[in-house]
Symmetry: C2
Subunit: 333 residues, 2 copies
Amino acid sequence: MVTSRDVAQLAGVSQMTVSRVLQGSSRVAPQTREKVLAAMQQAGYRPHAAARTLRTRRTSTVGVVVADITNPFYPQLLEAVGRALEEAGLRMVLWNAPDPSADGALRALHENTVDGLIFTTATKASAELAEVAGRGDPVVLLHRGLDELDCDQVTTDNLAGGRAVADYLVRCGCSRIGFLRGPELPSTARDRERGFRDRLAELGRPLAPELTADGGFDHDRARAAVRDLLAAAKPPTAVFCANDLTALGAVDGAVAAGRRVPEDVWVVGYDDIAMTAWDSYDITTVRQPIAEMARAAVRLLLERIEDRGLPPRNQRFPSELVVRGSTAHTPES
Amino acid sequence: MVTSRDVAQLAGVSQMTVSRVLQGSSRVAPQTREKVLAAMQQAGYRPHAAARTLRTRRTSTVGVVVADITNPFYPQLLEAVGRALEEAGLRMVLWNAPDPSADGALRALHENTVDGLIFTTATKASAELAEVAGRGDPVVLLHRGLDELDCDQVTTDNLAGGRAVADYLVRCGCSRIGFLRGPELPSTARDRERGFRDRLAELGRPLAPELTADGGFDHDRARAAVRDLLAAAKPPTAVFCANDLTALGAVDGAVAAGRRVPEDVWVVGYDDIAMTAWDSYDITTVRQPIAEMARAAVRLLLERIEDRGLPPRNQRFPSELVVRGSTAHTPES
């Protein structure tokens, strides 16, 4: 490897002078600076990571874009992605930003400050993202997918998960089934709702509009929404929540309204974050295999970094209902 | 701004050729490549972020090192740091890694891929970190401090926080006061314990060894530890936990043991993470002013990036006891 000593010899200056040029010091005469820069170029010397990147076009860094790290699902997912990247000798750069700021991540990919990107919270294919994906650039969607985008995607079968909850609640004889929906755009919220709604309709028990409300993928909003639902003359006896954070809010809303879970109302979430298993919540939910999904996303990304000509791959993991205390009193038990 | 078109004109080649040189394509003759590189240098053209960094030695990126994002305290802190950085026009690079891997972050600083570093979970001053800090390089410790290090630090007065909890529990007439300690190394765990212990001793109520256990800053370990404490012949009637995650585990341990909080046992945490205020937990805790601390850390870092000659600054925020339902039944009430 070429060292600064080699550059100094070639330029006929001291190593200190080379170092000063590297630091952009004003104590080097312009003529000397030119001489040193020419020697660097001649010798092929590159002092820093930034220059190394220019040469190898690899940063060993992968960017991960996430919209809301205060939803405990994402720290769990990020830790799993970080571990999978670490096993591959890569480090993680995190953008905690809503969708519009994904521009920053795309710019980083464009400028080669990251080798690839994993989007965990994409809700729409911006023109920039579509262009990048269309070129076969190393971009993977994880957790939330985008049907309109031809790129590698790793998701859970949220449609089947929503259907499984409908089957479970109807089978258990729940009389008034409610629903706390998520935001409009994420594929997760949309597919869970569609699966739940469609299956309920198929079973002859269509979802009643007065038993649904907006949970917003937000604890406090879900808490308020459930209090409203429970204050009605005919409140729901079971509430399916579009994610676990919403389910935590729903349980807290029931507590705040003086109702018991599951005696007065059942609560079902989605994701199986660690907290749903904690004693104070003990929430029935649909499990996403977080660690496996993270490993799959990293594997697809590494393959695409090596070969941009690969066809888009779509890896969909099965979902699994996990029954806990928030619905434990089934007719069968 | 100089564009690749300018470079092409100057070198007398097509823009496509300039683009190929930039991409390191082998389809460019060595002579042509040299001509293009010379034109780039003459025109002052730099195509990518990496090259821009070499010129300006600024990346507009700050590295943040954190040990455990699955402790909900850290996502809250990171979101606050991210927001403060964004306001300053900077982006955040995250290392989610235990202390040893901070080497990666220090290397990034050394190689100028970040402008500065914020450590949120430092537990010891490695030789590398001490050297970096001693040079006045842009490094700020946030949340956890290191007495032996002469660098900018932003912390809460954990000693006073621990003392305040001792005062509160003794004033409320708690008979058997227990403690779930944290890991040995973090300054937060150490100072909270020291303040709590010293103040209890001053009040003539020294902490009983049989009423203390290791909570490990971990939900499941705290849960198991509290179950053990509550199974004793003379169980604690109040348990102070070295952080909120431990307090969540303590409440769940009490629930699992069939005890009621606060009727059978009081629980006090530390940090005031959002979840402590949620209805299912409703935990008395000591508040850290997370947003203010994050802003202070970013401000100190920006000042140091501008002037490495500044003396080390130590900003310590006051702590504040927040009484909630996990201890609500005070003798005064």
